[in-house]
Point group: C7
Chain length 85, copies 7
């Protein structure tokens, strides 16, 4: 059974999609994580959803800078591509 850390370790240098308690989504390349789920992402961008409903396809994209640290405390979920483990 792969645990949380093992799962994240497999996705280092991969693009992840992070859902936050603030309602935002952030997408970027996972550089590191720690046991609090603090995340360091590269080339991160925030996906701003229209207030009046709509889905991810209606998003507006905001660049967050070359590198961003996200505090684990605000993370809801981390979605990653699967590479056949």
């Amino acid at each position: 059974m792969p645990d949380t850390a093992e799962y994240l370790a497999k996705n280092i240098k991969e693009t992840v999609l992070v859902s936050l308690k603030t309602g935002s989504w952030v997408r970027g390349i996972l550089q590191s994580f720690d046991r609090h789920l603090n995340l360091v992402l590269d080339n991160a961008e925030e996906l701003v959803l229209p207030k009046s409903g709509g889905g991810l396809e209606d998003r507006r994209i905001v660049r967050l800078g070359k590198r961003v640290l996200i505090r684990g405390d605000v993370v809801v979920a981390i979605s990653t591509p699967d590479r056949g483990e």
Copy 2:
């Protein structure tokens, strides 16, 4: 008396329905969990309920990617099928 970990361990590789503090429901195949109730799910999809009332049967389904990590801190409840333990 089966405790929390024992209960989740029995549902590895099974479909679970997870209710989140954000009001969302996520359904997927449980791959792993840890003591914080961080969950790794495969083939996860979010069940989006209409704001104007209605029940689970009126949901819209959003694919969350092949594999998703849900932070235990946002989990309200985990519902699982029973297999006669």
Copy 3:
């Protein structure tokens, strides 16, 4: 003086009514608990109260599956029948 754990232990296999921070009520047969007040319930159902006031008698019932784990962090209160201890 019966403490928290002793009190819950006495109600294993009994029907309990759990009030959640989300405003929901869940009723089911208590199968297990741990020190975080994580609860495993069987035959659980959610009691959905009408938004426009009213009491428990006006509830709508939603089946939650054969077995459900409720995270202790969202529990407000656990009400149990008394059996003369």
Copy 4:
């Protein structure tokens, strides 16, 4: 200086009035407590206040069952009668 535990211990078997973060008030006979301020109350009833202002005297009373466990995390205050300590 009587500390928190000593204060609650003196009120075992006495009626207490508990104010919750949910905005509810619960009244019952204190049976036990622990260091998280988890409380076990007997003959508990919830005092439902009218939304449109008014005071405790305008309350509606809802029976909570013979015995209830209240999670310390949701407690705001516990009010007790004084017996001249």
Copy 5:
């Protein structure tokens, strides 16, 4: 430098004004405290402020009973008279 505990210890048996996260103010005579800032107050009364603005001078006073325990977790601030330390 007087620390938190030393500061509260100096105000035992004195009137304090406690501001809570619920938006309420409670005034009473400090009987005890612990490291979580749980407080025991005597002759406590809640100062109910009018919703439509106004200041402490427009308050309505509600008696909370002879003795009340306030959970430290809901405390915002504790204001005390100064006695020239």
Copy 6:
């Protein structure tokens, strides 16, 4: 690299401006702090901002008493004058 405690220690007996999670600002002379960021302030006053926008310059000032303890848990930020360290 000056750490959090070192930074606050340098501002003992100085005026600080504290922003709270409740949306309030409190200004006073820092008397002490502990590792939870509990703060003791002298001559504290709350800066009440008008609801209808406006900035710090439109504030109304409310005296909080000679000495106030602010619980670290509600602190957002502490702003201090710089004295060329």
Copy 7:
């Protein structure tokens, strides 16, 4: 894999953009941090976004004083320039 602390250490004396749970953004020169993500910033300014939508380019800037301590508990994300590590 650079961890959280290593990442922040590389940005000491650099300008960072901090997003807070209150919805505010603060920009300043990072002077120190600790393991709770408490941050000390110099020349900090708050970027006030218009309520009626709009982006960072529509912000109003409020000076926060020469030096400010931000409590880690309210931090959502820390964005930093990249310097080719």
